[in-house]
Amino acid sequence: MRRQTKHLLRRTTFGSVPLIDPLLVSIARYSSTLSFLAVLSVVTIAGIFVMRDVKSTNIEAQKMYAGSVLGLHRIGELQYEAQETRRATFYALTTNDSNLQVEYADQSREADRLVSEGIIEYLRHAQMPQEIEIGKRLQMDWSDFLEVRNEVLASILEGSTKEAVNLDQAGGVQSFDRVRQDLGEIKRLYNEQASQRLANVVAGSRRFAIRLITVLVLTLAFASASVWAIERSKMLAAIQLAELQMEFVASVSHELRSPLAVISSAADNIVDGVISRKDDVQRYVGVIRNQSRQITDLVNQILQFASIQDGRSRYVLRPLEVSQIVESVLGNTSELLQGAGFVVERQIEASLPGILGDLSALSQCLQNLIVNSVKYSGESRWIGIRALLADSEDRASPEIQIKVQDHGIGIARSEMPHIFEPFYRSATVVDAQIHGAGLGLSLAKNIAQAMGGKLSVVSEVARGTTFTLHLPIARRQDLQMAAGAIESTPTIENE
């Protein structure tokens, strides 16, 4: 029935996903952290790519500006200053005043100085062979033009206007034309470089956009998957919890049904007069009483578990002796043990220090361990109870260890992480139809932790199991405080 329910549940979810569901369940515990780390990694990687693309695009744009745009600006200035060199020379022709002529000559020389410096600057930045070749040619042509210009200026200043005109016509015009052509060629070169760099920037931007979109899509997909995984894991956890709850209910129902059926049958028999003999009646009443006690114990367990979950447990801590606890436990379980034919071997070290605890709770804890040993003893009818003082793995001071050992069916290694979970019952136990609600070990562990200790287990399949209750030794001041404050009844709320 429970299996059908489980199967039905799984079919009604998003479809069973083998391998992934167990993985999701296992990672459900760390879903938020994992998701955060995953998204962070993706965003970081995406950011690195984006920054790299942006940087390369920026560098390309800077290259374009520094190389081509500034270069075009420089060539424009060179062209202007070259024209100025020639213009100032012409202006010197328009006047007879030597002072003005000298001024124009100065303007021409200043302009030619700027051009010469500009050409040197261009050659300094030139890297391609074509650029260097054009630059050197421009330098040579400019030098040729300046030679003619100097002669023209000298003739103008001397007053030989005709001579100046002839010189310019013979050499100045052609040499200046060559300079102009060289500058035009450089301009075309810069233009081509600018176009090429612009194309590179465009391509880079496109790549960047594609990458960014891809990364965003991937991030979205991953985020969606993460959200789906988180939600699915939560759902599975909820399903699992529901399954466990259903199992508990089913188990409780089954546990209650059996003794109730016996009680009902015995009562029916008594009422119906099927049995009339006094012995038989006493026997049947005894059965009714035992079954009632079983039901009572089960209900008490459930209630105790509920009180622990609700945080309403109250423990009365008192100084206790270990022997005291053991005697209490054995007293509570003597009938069970005798009835099942078990032999209990007791080994309690002498002069064990006292502890601070709740006698009934500790008794309940050990009682649950003993009951489990009885239930899962298999063919063995031996239980060992041992109390000793041992070194603690968790504390610097020694601790009291009370061991409950059996030679029963043992616990599989795969079951070990789950045996302390509430309502958990292994498939082996369920198949063996061993009764139980799955709360005993959970309760025992809670009680042990409430007393400041812990519960550990060592088991081997078909060899047996040993449960160890670790309890801290009560400190002197705690004992004195507990003894002096017994009236105030210090309590520990179950966490």
Binding site: T5, Q79, Y80, F90, N96, Q169, N191, R232, M235, I239
Partner: protein
């Protein structure tokens, strides 16, 4: 708790979970889509759009070229206004024209200088004289002197043009009227030559110039403002004024330094048309266009300007020509001249002597006409008193200039430089003549340059 409710709760929880999933994923999806859209929109244009970018660049460059051409045009339009600014004296050359430029600045031809530009200078000289003398027939009168336009042009570093254009009146009081006779200018181009200066040792002139006979003829030309006295000495009077020397020559001349260290030797070598026979006197004696014979006149001169005595010049010249007067045998003309002058800004002493020898071809007739003058002056502030004595003695039967005969006498005068460009002169001349009454003359002259 009923069993049948459990699966439903789980189903409900599953449904809630699915809803939550959808609710959480959908915003993410939407946000990613929006982001992707924005990114796509910010992305530069696709490859198809690079073509318009190139075109845009091209258009920008074309526009830059247009603007450059416009600037050039505006500059050229502005240049004529700079030429129109008045400057004193010489004419100003105009701005060379700027060629039209195409839209693309790269293909524009460079500007060219204008061939028509020259550097012409004009300087003027003139004078006006009030003179009177004791010669019969002469009246006291105001006379306009020669209006002398001295024109030069620097053609090139080596070539230069020089001319003296003189407006002069004749005895008939008419200025600037062509007399209608051969070789006559109402307006006289007294000098008209182009000079070529190769170096200090070789200068060549071609055209019409003052013959290098003696000192005075090359030192003083047609401007009375330059000379100290009101008039030229007899010997160096212009041909059309009755001068006996070939003052002007049309031909070719070479001159220059002779390497001689501190002696400062110079040479002059000339060949030209010579002059017409001077008879009758009213004909143009300078043969500007037509030579009455193929024989050319030659003249060589040499003079020294020693560095040791600043201002001193000593020279000698020899002129040889063959004259062909009408209805007369040819006459060989030889003119030997020597000069010793001492010229400084504040003092001058000019001494020249020459002899004109005419030998009639086919005869043994030789006519020697000696002449000399000496002139001395000294500057005292703006005043410069001067004294001159001159002498020429031509034979009565001199075939070329029989009217000259003997003339001699002193001249004394005072020059006053009223300004840098205006000079006032007062001069008294006493001229003794052979077998005639001496002539006394007084002249007041204002000479100027502009």
């Amino acid at each position: 708790m009923k069993f049948s409710l459990l699966p439903r709760r789980v189903l409900h929880a599953e449904g809630l979970t699915g809803l939550r999933v959808r609710k959480r994923i959908l915003p993410l999806l939407l946000g990613s889509l929006v982001t992707a859209t924005i990114l796509q929109a910010q992305q530069p244009e696709s490859s198809d759009a690079t073509v318009p970018d190139k075109q845009t660049l091209q258009l920008l460059f074309q526009r830059i070229g247009q603007l450059e051409a416009r600037v050039k045009q505006l500059e050229s339009e502005r240049q004529p206004s700079a030429v129109a600014t008045p400057t004193p004296g010489p004419a100003q050359p105009s701005v060379p024209p700027v060629n039209e430029v195409e839209q693309q600045a790269e293909s524009t031809m460079p500007e060219r200088m204008d061939l028509s530009k020259t550097l012409l200078r004009i300087r003027g000289f003139g004078d006006t004289t009030l003179h009177g003398d004791t010669q019969k027939g002469d009246n006291t009168a105001f006379s306009l002197g020669q209006l002398d336009l001295f024109v030069t042009s620097d053609i090139s570093e080596k070539f230069k043009f020089l001319s003296e254009i003189v407006f002069e009146g004749g005895p008939d009081n008419i200025y600037g009227v062509t007399r209608g006779e051969a070789n006559t200018f109402g307006v006289d181009v007294e000098r008209y030559l182009v000079q070529y200066s190769y170096n200090d040792y070789l200068n060549v002139e071609a055209g019409r110039w003052h013959t290098a006979i003696g000192y005075y003829n090359t030192a003083y030309h047609h401007s009375t403002w330059f000379q100290t006295t009101t008039d030229r000495p007899f010997l160096f009077d212009f041909e059309d004024r009755g001068g006996i020397l070939p003052i002007h020559t049309v031909g070719v001349s070479a001159s220059g330094l002779i390497p001689s260290g501190s002696l400062g030797l110079h040479y002059v070598a000339e060949v030209g048309n010579g002059r017409a026979s001077r008879s009758p006197i009213d004909q143009e004696p300078v043969q500007n266009e037509v030579d009455d014979q193929s024989h050319k006149a030659f003249n060589v001169a040499i003079f020294a300007r020693p560095e040791a005595i600043r201002g001193l010049q000593v020279g000698f010249s020899a002129y040889r020509d063959l004259l062909a007067p009408a209805n007369s045998p040819r006459i060989g003309e030889t003119i030997l001249a020597a000069h010793v002058v001492f010229v400084r800004p504040q003092f001058e002493w000019l001494n020249e002597a020459l002899a004109v020898r005419h030998s009639v071809s086919g005869t043994s007739q030789v006519f020697n006409t000696p002449g000399f003058y000496t002139q001395i002056s000294k500057q005292f502030g703006s005043y410069r008193p001067y004294f001159r004595y001159q002498y020429v003695n031509a034979s009565n039967t001199e075939p070329i200039f029989p009217d000259v005969r003997l003339r001699h006498g002193p001249s004394v005068g005072l020059r006053y430089d009223a300004s840098e460009s205006v000079a006032l002169k007062l001069q008294y001349d006493y001229t003794a003549l052979r077998r005639q009454a001496a002539i006394s003359a007084l002249a007041l002259q204002i000479g100027f340059t502009f």
